[in-house]
Symmetry: C2
Subunit: 415 residues, 2 copies
Amino acid sequence: MARIVMKFGGTSVADIKLIRNVARHVKRETDAGHEVAVVVSAMAGTTNQLIAWTQESAPLNDLREYDAVIASGEQVTAGLLALALQAEGVNARSWMGWQIPIMTDDAHGSARITGIDNTGLIKALKQGQVAVIAGFQGIASSNRIATLGRGGSDTSAVAIAAAVKANRCDIYTDVDGVYTTDPRIEPKARRLSKVAFEEMLEMASLGAKVLQVRSVELAMMHKISTFVRSSFDTPELPEILKNAPGTLICNEEEIVEQHIVTGIAFAKDEAQVSLRRLVDKPGISAAIFSALAEENINVDMIVQNVSEHGAKTDLTFTVPSSDLNKAVKILERNREDMTFESLQAEGGLSKVSIIGIGMRNHAGVAAVAFKALAEKGINIRAITTSEIKISILIDSAYTELAVRTLHSVYFLDKI
Amino acid sequence: MARIVMKFGGTSVADIKLIRNVARHVKRETDAGHEVAVVVSAMAGTTNQLIAWTQESAPLNDLREYDAVIASGEQVTAGLLALALQAEGVNARSWMGWQIPIMTDDAHGSARITGIDNTGLIKALKQGQVAVIAGFQGIASSNRIATLGRGGSDTSAVAIAAAVKANRCDIYTDVDGVYTTDPRIEPKARRLSKVAFEEMLEMASLGAKVLQVRSVELAMMHKISTFVRSSFDTPELPEILKNAPGTLICNEEEIVEQHIVTGIAFAKDEAQVSLRRLVDKPGISAAIFSALAEENINVDMIVQNVSEHGAKTDLTFTVPSSDLNKAVKILERNREDMTFESLQAEGGLSKVSIIGIGMRNHAGVAAVAFKALAEKGINIRAITTSEIKISILIDSAYTELAVRTLHSVYFLDKI
């Protein structure tokens, strides 16, 4: 007998028929003798409708009111799933964030969980009652509803799993696992049966939209084995881990057969800014990136070379295309303080990343990539690397070609 | 400066444009220097959609889950109105039932308010912040959301008015007041400028659907002057009580110019059951009506005559037409215990009622009615009376004729 947390996203609970399907997934686990907590998102479409209403009501939103409005979506799903479970003969009740309570900080709209009182939940689970929990929400110290931001239900699920010391957290979504790359671009992409937390973290932050980044961080921190699978499978499969297709996100030690590279991620709509002939003295970089951060511009890749100009250097970084104009304006305004002589900006770029824990112990991974891309005539504009990731910046037009080339050169279609 | 509670029903907040209109109504009052609490219903249609979903999820509803689901509708409106007020430059925040808290008993689905903690609300009002309160809901002792049943937002509003010691409770709805009768049946019906609590209570329970019965009881008990007006009027009218059309529901002493009869109410779809030759001994009536009550059959008019059969008597009562078959079955099953010799049942009836506090001091009100109806050839099947009401049971086909005849004979078109 295990204690498991099951999480179902918006497309998995989009209508009552699907909610009943979810109830059967849950019943399979309770029938097997497990203690189950379920975390649900709002029915697909609901959150967008509610957000549109808040925007129509007031152009400048008070995020506390925004939260009160949109948290209602998960409340509805939690109640409906509890009812559907009862109709299946399963003892169940709904829990809102404030009832548990799930405490958060006061950053309404994108709050962070600061603590979870597990008393009520554990009592209910031990009594054999399924806890159906409204995801994406908690309660701030002001006694007001706070939401965790987009994708926050994943974070709710992992945090609940940690709080009730669950043996496993199952994330049911509209895909059946994590793939070596996006199958819409590379039909030969294969599902990974296991992926390490660190790898998943890189994939999530690089745009592989299966799991929210914070939920993966949390899972890694608390060592919660997280299984990603499809909610559209037949619910009655008896032994989920042995038979059901999906991807287990786990500690690297649990992955016996390690590959050097596990996946190719990519992000389109990147833009590049190059500042030429900066004075190479302490504080200049800080000045630049602080100014951008203050305006909420998310800087991604940063490359700084030792420059040919002696005491002067060049700095290149990327921002989302949609922020490019804003970024350029901020930089031009501060040109003198920032000491650069010229600025080059260009949109229409993509970042393609090669990810794999095995890279740590294998030299030459980067060389293979550069050679393969060169053979296809793909120009590399910038490169950044970490222990388990190599990211390259290229023209967007070559994204698909680059992804397929790298997928093939690392034999990912053979995994 | 006054402290007022304003309540807006579902049709008054049916979309964002209307919610903004409501914000302007509220702003008019805050601009006048008043402290304002607003109670809102769910956007029209929302509650029905949510109820349909709960029924689709589980045929036998756990009312605690039902409450969690449908209370979300008012939560959304409260947040949206707070935003719309902020957009108008009005300081406002939303309050859910559990945040205030509004305490209720555990009768989920039709809970009663047992207490309201006014601390937070009064503090906010004194600081000039509009309190936008989700109507229709509170929190049961189990820490779970409880709803007050259909029309419960009226009750919320009056209870809040009592709790914060408001000078006035304004009920904004889709009609502009209480009429002498239904204007769809009698175009000459006139709006009453004032009506006594007791009269309104009879009108509400008799099917004049302007205000929920419990809210009127509560207003009477706490002496909360309640003003019914239309939310579709221009919000910018400066002096609501002097200029705005509407009906003030108040203590009878405040009504200077009293009429003998103030209104004609009616209820269609009534059915009559007559039990013949009952043994006239203590306990028989109790046995009959307990059996019906146990099956949730709502008995309305009850008439018992001293019978010509000596120790035996006849008993007539009415039930909703939809419950007639069920009622007859229960009675037939218990015929021996209930001691009646025969049973007559008939549907397709209407109850028409003449209401007026002035009746107390005027004889002959009933005689006028009977004479007028007789002249039109309308047969009266049964009569019940209270201090301020005369109800008669007639064939449904004559409803409109009876209403118009009575409306005219008491000069209600001249009020």
